[in-house]
Symmetry: C2
Subunit: 203 residues, 2 copies
Amino acid sequence: MSAASTPEPAGLSRRDELLAIAGGLFAERGFKNTTVRDIADAAGILSGSLYHHFDSKESMVDELLDTFQTELWKQYDAIEASDLTARGKLEAVVRASFEAIGEHRNEVAIFQSDALYLATFERFGYLIERNRKFRTLWTGLLEAGVASGELRADLDIALVYRFLRDTVWVAVRWYRPGGTLTPADVADQYLTILLQGIEKESR
Amino acid sequence: MSAASTPEPAGLSRRDELLAIAGGLFAERGFKNTTVRDIADAAGILSGSLYHHFDSKESMVDELLDTFQTELWKQYDAIEASDLTARGKLEAVVRASFEAIGEHRNEVAIFQSDALYLATFERFGYLIERNRKFRTLWTGLLEAGVASGELRADLDIALVYRFLRDTVWVAVRWYRPGGTLTPADVADQYLTILLQGIEKESR
DNA sequence: GTCTATAGTATGATAGAC
DNA sequence: GTCTATCATACTATAGAC
């Protein structure tokens, strides 16, 4: 119970530190494009030393993605189980996703650019499954919104889903925390565009 | 003038054929992730034989991207020079971009996933320049649309630009020609969402 | 926890025969 | 235009000393 000989006395263990460094590089230049030497260099050690902490390069990205997705789904599940209306849930889910971009940029970026490639290995099969679950959740909310009359009925749901999904996650490519826009600001503007459009006088 | 001994008697030269094969692989699994052996295998030859047609793997992707961008910009320039209103130009540019996704999926996909990496080499410096030109064009149209009263004035232009840019180009990830939706159909739906939103009763 | 040293493999590219 | 053969390099990963 005391801080006697725990591995993380102050905060980040060396292992977590290395994982964060790897995450930054994977996000910036891609998984395949980042060598174990790059990671070791950035950490100020030699590449062989990395293997004292991790089995393989794949293990690193696996741990990053899995941890992140587990956390994100806790939030999605809570929203889904809430008593908000369909539209309210949709907004909440969009906001939670932008928050995730703010707090876990690296993981989101890695998922965006490397998930398709990684999913070809059975080890990363969970990525495909989570993706399906994600589509089910979002599409379901859109359908419920149309059914409840909150959303217009003349649009192709599958297409709106892809539009929505892409607009949210692709923001990781340009969003940088610490600027003038908080994730909540971006979510507000995106939701305004998505819900009301950019046209001046409409309908 | 006759078809006597021209290199492309029927249509695609062997070189173009190989370039198309490489483009498909680059688009599908990424530039770095595609080896020259992969390309040669897909073409039914050995990797060394590729170098009879091309200097390097980089030359291949360079030729694909440069050719495509030159063609696309011919269209953008024509739209910019037309006498459409700002909003009309914006719609035309969006439609032209979706057409490009329909006709040059590989090149768009490669640009989307590898341009950032490729741009780190001076050889691909033109990618950065074209990107800037692109932003200038689209942002200018948005500003003109606000000025003319066609578009609402309460949104952050830089953010709307990124929203628009990303939603258009990211569609290459899922759009497949030959399905029920033509590029024009997708452009229609996207423009409807973008201009009017998905909310039932708004404003 | 990091280093030295290195194995084993994959990769981009070249030279010359056919 | 393709093949055979191969080089030089870069990569992931391992074994054992410190």
